[in-house]
């Protein structure tokens, strides 16, 4: 990019960052609301199976918002996705293996 285009590029960067900041503030509000939902669900004293499912579901949504928007994974380079795919391929068996050894036991 030539020097003459630098101000245009800077303006583009600023607009992009402003969009990013607006999205981050929206995510921030959503995270606070979801935290309130998590605690509200806990006060209902649901059956353990429902409580675990609901709390983990909300945590997954909150985690996805943080990873997607705060950590920019919504628009990241392909190599980062490959690194994370490999991590997930190792992480989930590690996490789920104990449950497979005693199916259903964790929910009782």
């Amino acid at each position: 990019m030539g020097e003459a285009h630098a101000p245009e590029a800077a303006a583009h960067d600023h607009a992009e960052v402003d969009r990013h900041v607006r999205a981050a503030l929206l995510v921030f509000g959503s995270l606070l609301v979801l935290t309130a939902f998590t605690v509200a669900a806990w006060t209902l004293h649901l059956p353990r199976r429902s409580a675990i499912t609901l709390a983990l579901l909300i945590a997954v949504v909150k985690g996805s918002l943080v990873a997607g928007w705060f950590m920019h994974l919504i628009s990241e380079r392909r190599i980062i996705y490959w690194v994370l795919a490999l991590t997930a391929a190792l992480f989930f068996p590690l996490l789920l293996f104990p449950m497979l050894t005693a199916p259903g036991a964790i929910l009782h």
Binding site: A59, V83, L90, L95, A102, I106
Partner: protein, 196 residues
């Protein structure tokens, strides 16, 4: 000799080396916490009875800490965005707030731990408290580590802003990625340990 590709993207990856490095590190962190979460599941499945977190733990304080960490994540984003917009004083303001939030989190954690010890609840008391102290202790160490890096970037490390602003902005972005992971881990620790 300078480390190559600290600012420009490598042709083969499309990213600078710092970005690739921090993501590989975060992947290893996911596996570290993943192993401990798996241990939690194994211990819980194997236990004849498992207490709900509120039996031992303070849910309102943990909720406060959740809000504090989420807030620190958004101020970290605002600090990085300020640098991209070439506003160094706002960067310092937002990164300073991020560091303060980390400090508030640790102070709250100190009061939580103190209350446990006062009631003679130790890691050796039972399996639940053992995994609670292990997970939250390791997470607390990560908060301290993140605060150390952020404090360096706020203070002496920020001298780079005058000589190589893009490189400095990349460093702040990478520190932010680590800080967001610390937030992400807490998002799962909070319901798993305190509410279920």
């Amino acid at each position: 000799m300078d480390i190559p590709y600290t600012v420009a993207a490598r042709p083969d990856t499309g990213l600078n080396n710092g970005k690739i490095g921090i993501w590989l590190f975060l992947a290893s962190e996911v596996m570290l916490f993943g192993a401990l979460f798996a241990s939690y599941v194994m211990l819980r499945v194997g236990a004849p009875e498992w207490p709900t977190g509120a039996t031992y733990l303070n849910v309102p304080l943990a909720t406060l800490n959740t809000v504090v960490l989420i807030s620190s994540s958004v101020t970290m984003v605002l600090a990085w965005a300020s640098l991209v917009k070439r506003d160094f004083s706002r960067f310092r303001l937002f990164l300073g707030i991020t560091i303060l939030c980390g400090l508030v989190f640790l102070v709250v954690k100190y009061f939580e731990y103190s209350a446990k010890f006062h009631h003679e609840y130790f890691p050796s008391t039972n399996t639940f408290l053992a995994i609670y102290f292990t997970l939250t202790g390791l997470h607390g160490l990560h908060v301290i580590g993140g605060m150390a890096v952020n404090s360096w970037l706020w203070g002496p490390g920020s001298a780079m802003w005058k000589t190589d602003p893009v490189h400095f902005t990349n460093r702040v972005e990478n520190a932010g990625l680590f800080w967001h992971l610390v937030d992400l881990v807490w998002i799962f620790l909070f319901p798993v340990l305190y509410l279920l």
